[in-house]
Symmetry: C2
Subunit: 772 residues, 2 copies
């Protein structure tokens, strides 16, 4: 048994000893360094650009501008290709532009023998701009007279809506209806390793790209499209990667490094973004403006939920409207029995491009939905948990959007378990003493549902290949990418489980190489464990069968009487014992029988499964200092069968931490007039550190998802989904103030507390207390 | 149709533009450089070694001696592992030694930040030797009182014999018997790229080795054995390689770089030998001493051939007795109808280690056999071709050694074709005018037979994997290694043939990586085309079938009605047309049907096939100058079906050139007293250059070998096999002098001509002529 045990991460030692090599560590001798020139305005045109002085810097090998690049618009989003042209991503990017769409847009690039020389040359490029007024929000973008960022777009990237049940009628008939508007901010992934890629040519028509990407196979396709070269002449290699969180589910640097090496006769060229470039010129989380209406009856029944989303994608579409669309569909399985409506629009603006980021729109939408749910519970005077228990999904409910039965839904069990282990009712009792004065305490709850992959929006396919080595160990090759989340380890456990051998006898090839790695679109949508398990399980079964067939030949016994146990083939009563090492040596080296025993399976998955969970939180608010302390935060997840409890807990800790940081302090700040980005650095962009992290705890409700090989469902993104609304609801519980805009920073709390009269009310009293 | 056409080499452009990257071009940043300290004596012991001063050189990171290395004797020969312990190679090597067995033996190693520092440190190592008398030849080595180079060996590496028919009786009964002794020299491969390998660890127990090796999978096994670490924790990668000729069919540097990186905490460490080290401290061709007896009847029938070989393997066994054994068996199919006997011994000596080199013992043995054949023809007064025609194999003959029928033997057709195209009879006529005086002309002929792989001596296995890319092109992954011989191109042609697509739609992954590359022992024994074709053909068939099955689903037509033609699936009358690009996109991206289409086959080959051929040569000898000019040299080969005529001709030109150089000028010179190597550099070691090359021509007799997928047989090594004896026989024809020792250098000709009285006879006459 390997599945269900807390196997140590396969890459743990390599990473803590520094032996693990990342993209930059693998650079070839003689690699040239490229650096972008970014625009210093947010909206306008390059009227003139003079690169002559830059070109004359010793060590500069080339300078390219808009004039030099292929005029092939391409989409950067890391989505599986869609056979339906209408479903493809917006092709609105060029390698470089003279039409500036955000502060930091890429207008030129320098290639030099080293980074210092490239930086020096960048400063010598003279640019004359024509500047336009910056378009920053929904109203500005969709104003009829607004300048179009992309010709013919009307600044609209996409829009759609759905309706499940008669929402208007339900609202009209319900005992109560509520409305709210919620606004989320620009946040950025801040993965440890910045974007980096390099490329060279090893033939006159073959380009090798090494990249820190979540999506090597997709990357290959997009480079092919951007440069109009055949896919099979491009090879993308993904070594170890220092985080991505969706920002590397976009093809950011690869087409450019491929272009540069092609232009420079095949020499290796590297692009490595600085943290500053990463913060403003890669991708961010879409700011959402969400209007929500909800209707409830006195008995606590949620009758209707109407969501109206405006998603701001910034200067380029990237994942564009997919984000708002995905968020809209993933919330449905949480309250499948209410009438639901959703309408969403995604618009351009002169802000940094938004793309995929952990949660893919759901954190924004869940923040709005779970806030209004809390408001509804309060309106009814119901306990937050009780209210959710009345409305959340149960196994066997039907997803009204797909018409399919929800095969496993453990959210009620999560709530019951959480109420118990978090001591919800007891805390609630204790908090009665903290509802006035400067120090307040409150409890918050939020729930979520999420998918396990992108089906049916996209094709879901995964591939695995296994090789029995001469020493009896098994090498596993998978297209799915380890990006720090631990997927290699979990896949090794699944393979071991099916083969009947220990995890220590498995080696996972962690590097993906599009030339030879089984096809898989990559790491996103919390799909790895769920989508990949099927291919891994089947490949394991196939290799196991082939091993037993060879054993049958060697032992002259029927294969059905044999099984693999640990490191050997045995029969029922274990009187027969043939080590896998002996068997493998025979298969490889016997002169007439046998062969190298391998197995490969590529499998499409045509199901999806919903994960559920909730965050329970206890906060303390110092009204006067506008300071929030998290006394306890507890996530309970239904991710089906947990393959590796320690890794699962790790995902939760990381996700909750990210959720807290995004809820309380992170915000990329744009000048409301010019669109300039003020804080593209980690001094001024306030990301939580270990010092800011409260104790985080978690628990799991292990339902069995029948569509997955091991009963498992998604867990990568879910942990952060319900954090912000839980905090918002706890602050509301503690203070009566509803924070309907993110981040809920001390500055925002100050404004809100002041507007609510709280500061005036507590200040004299507290002062009096101090003077005692 | 792709097979049979002169497809341009896949790597041609990459190699001529310098884009192809070799082992050294791929070094990681921060790679440390290691350099060996070689012994300055040929036989003895290190009594004392002081590395303290070397260690104190700034930039030196480590110095290791015999004291530091694992005491695990290992075999370096690149043979497939043998399940029979008795058939395995001699395990007589350690990473470093204090027991010196040849001049250049490795006694210490320095690792430094760069090569200059390492070299500087090497000079500071102080070694005190105890020196023993050098043992250099058969008699010295096998003398009862001789010091044993390897304890318990009696200086014997191996011996064996066979007898087919009653040779003694045949000799006794025959009309004539002849005897001869032949001696070959030490020659070296002189591949363009010296030996180079580097290694690093990307985890605490995983070693990655990049190496210029012909045998990555074997290399992995041997490193595992030499360092006693599990095979699957070692990964060997073989990029483009600048030649090997068998010298890289030995595991020369890889165990050491693996040891060094392990000792140094995983940092990358590179070992790159200099040309000087390559010449004396890697491997050489075994010098053979061959005694041959042969018996013929007056009608030209060869009745018996008795061969007695002593093979000198130098200080370490390396491929050891396999060389003499292989040579002895590969000659049998040439004259299968004579009584044949063979006895051979391989002994140690204090000379550089001999290993695999193009021909693997056959060039030495064929030199002896085809010399005595010429002598026999002359004794009978028969034309050389006529004599061979009477005795060489025909299709349907039985190989007396294996008892198996020779399925294809085109040597008679080669002789007939050669006689015609070379104008043998006409030249013979013209030469009557050049049989006296200073300028003589002569014709020479020699034949050979050769195997196509190592079966049944070793397991013969090959693997291939193919992937249909999204653009409709096919990636081919093979375990067989391209080492400059063009095997990737030929494999692409075979794959294209079976798939029904053009070669331009095939990409061969040229880099082998033991983690993911289908298993194949590597490139040696002229096996690639013959052994690999079966796996490639079957994989092509399998992928083709899977493509047609997917087409059948898409088109709703039975797969049997469909076929692949060029870039599309079509039906019989071509009214249906589905491009492979469309098909692939559907297979990859259709949301419910299809999958990544791949195929993989690992196949053991349990046959062998004999190639044949001959060299016809016309020489002119300037007796006084002891100068030989080749007026024409023509090889005719029966290698079965020729997959790529231009590449096949290239193999012949290269092989014949190598044969000429080895016959006439190359010789690694050892001091007959001390065993010191005098000329381990390319100024003093006389390898032929382009300026020395005569016009070489070739022709093919395309028999059909039924055991091969395309009717093909070996061609890698054969072209050089018959060159030296043909030259020897032509000199004999021109001058009456039999050169029974190699090389037939001007110096050797001088001695021979002088001893034969030729110089005395021509000199006065020519002087007189000049004085006219």
């Amino acid at each position: 048994m390997s599945v269900g045990l807390s196997q140590e991460r396969l890459d743990a030692k390599a990473k803590v000893t520094g032996r693990c090599r990342f993209t930059g560590d693998l650079a070839l001798p003689g690699t040239r360094i490229a650096k972008y020139l970014h625009s210093t305005i947010a909206h306008g045109r390059v009227v003139d650009i003079d690169t002559s002085e830059a070109m004359s810097v010793t060590g500069v090998e080339a300078v390219f501008t808009f004039a030099d690049i292929p005029k092939i618009p391409f989409a950067t989003a890391g989505h599986a290709f869609n056979l339906d042209p209408a479903a493809r991503d917006k092709e609105d990017r060029l390698l470089l532009t003279d039409h500036i769409r955000y502060h930091g847009d890429e207008i030129a690039i320098v290639v030099a023998v080293d980074g210092l020389t490239a930086s020096k040359a960048l400063k010598k490029i003279k640019v004359t701009y024509e500047e336009y007024p910056a378009i920053l929000n929904h109203d500005q973008a969709l104003d009829e007279k607004a300048t179009e960022l992309h010709e013919g777009s009307g600044n609209r990237v996409g829009e759609h809506n759905y309706q499940c049940g008669d929402v208007q009628a339900a609202i009209a008939e319900a005992d109560h209806s509520l409305t709210g508007q919620f606004q989320t901010q620009m946040v950025q992934h801040c993965h440890m390793e910045n974007h980096i890629a390099w490329a060279y040519m090893d033939d006159t028509d073959h380009i090798v790209i090494m990249s820190s990407t979540q999506i090597p196979h997709i990357c290959r396709r997009i480079v092919s499209q951007a440069l109009d070269i055949p896919m099979s002449t491009i090879q993308v290699i993904k070594p170890a990667i220092g985080g991505g969180f969706g920002n590397k589910q976009d093809v950011v640097l690869e087409p450019m490094v491929a272009f540069l090496t092609k232009k420079l006769g095949g020499v290796p060229v590297m692009l490595e973004l600085t943290r500053e470039e990463g913060l403003s010129s890669t991708r961010i989380r879409h700011p959402f403006r969400v209007n929500v209406d909800c209707a409830v009856n006195n008995d606590g029944t949620l009758k209707a939920l109407a969501m109206d989303v405006s998603s701001n994608t910034g200067g380029y579409a990237s994942h564009g409207h997919s984000i708002a669309k995905a968020a809209g569909s993933k919330v449905v399985p949480l309250y499948p029995n209410a009438a639901l409506s959703y309408q969403a629009i995604t618009h351009y603006s002169n802000l940094p491009s938004a793309g995929a980021m952990r949660g893919y729109g759901s954190p924004q939408l869940v923040y709005a939905v779970e806030s209004i749910m809390e408001d509804a519970a309060r309106k009814l005077g119901m306990d937050s948990i009780d209210f959710r228990m009345k409305n959340v999904a149960q196994t066997g409910d039907t997803n009204p959007l797909t018409g399919k039965v929800i095969e496993s839904a453990g959210i009620r069990e999560c709530l019951i378990k959480g109420r118990e282990t978090f001591g919800w009712d007891q805390k609630k009792q204790e908090h009665q003493a903290f509802k006035s004065g400067n120090i307040r305490r409150g409890l918050g709850l939020a729930c979520f549902s999420y998918g396990s992959g992108t089906y049916p929006a996209s094709v879901e396919i995964a591939g695995a290949r296994m090789i029995l080595n001469q020493d009896g160990r098994v090498t596993v090759q998978i297209g799915a990418t380890e990006i720090g989340q631990g997927s290699d380890t979990v896949i090794a456990q699944m393979a071991a489980e099916r083969l009947g051998i220990p995890v220590s006898a498995i080696r996972v090839v962690s590097t993906q190489d599009t030339d030879t790695t089984p096809f898989d679109p990559g790491s996103f949508a919390s799909r790895q464990t769920y989508i990949v398990c099927q291919a891994v399980a089947e490949t394991g079964d196939l290799l196991r069968q082939r091993i037993l067939e060879h054993a049958s030949t060697m032992l002259e016994l029927p294969a059905e009487q044999l099984t693999i146990s640990k490191d050997a083939v045995v029969n029922g009563d274990k009187t027969v014992h043939l080590s896998l090492n002996e068997l493998a040596l025979d298969a490889y080296y016997h002169k007439t029988r046998g062969q190298q025993l391998t197995a490969e399976v590529s499998r499409k998955v045509t199901t999806n499964a919903y994960s559920y969970g909730c965050t329970l939180i206890e906060v303390e608010v110092d009204i006067e200092l506008c300071q929030l302390s998290i006394l306890g935060i507890h996530n309970i997840h239904d991710s089906g069968k947990i393959i590796n409890p320690d890794l699962a807990a790790g995902q939760v800790y990381g996700g909750v931490g990210m959720g807290i940081s995004g809820a309380l302090s992170e915000e990329l700040l744009a000048d409301p007039e010019t669109g300039w980005i003020y804080n593209n650095n980690l001094l001024d962009y306030k990301i939580a550190t270990m010092m800011d992290a409260p104790d985080i705890s978690c628990d799991f409700v292990e339902t069995h998802e029948p569509t997955a090989a091991f009963g498992n469902k998604s867990l990568g993104e879910p942990p952060l989904l319900s954090v912000a609304p839980a905090i918002r609801n706890a602050i509301l519980d503690a203070t009566g103030v509803a924070m309907n805009q993110l981040p809920m920073s001390p500055k925002a709390l100050f404004t809100a507390f002041r507007d609510a009269g709280l500061l005036d009310s507590v200040r004299p009293q507290e002062r009096a207390h101090v003077s005692h």
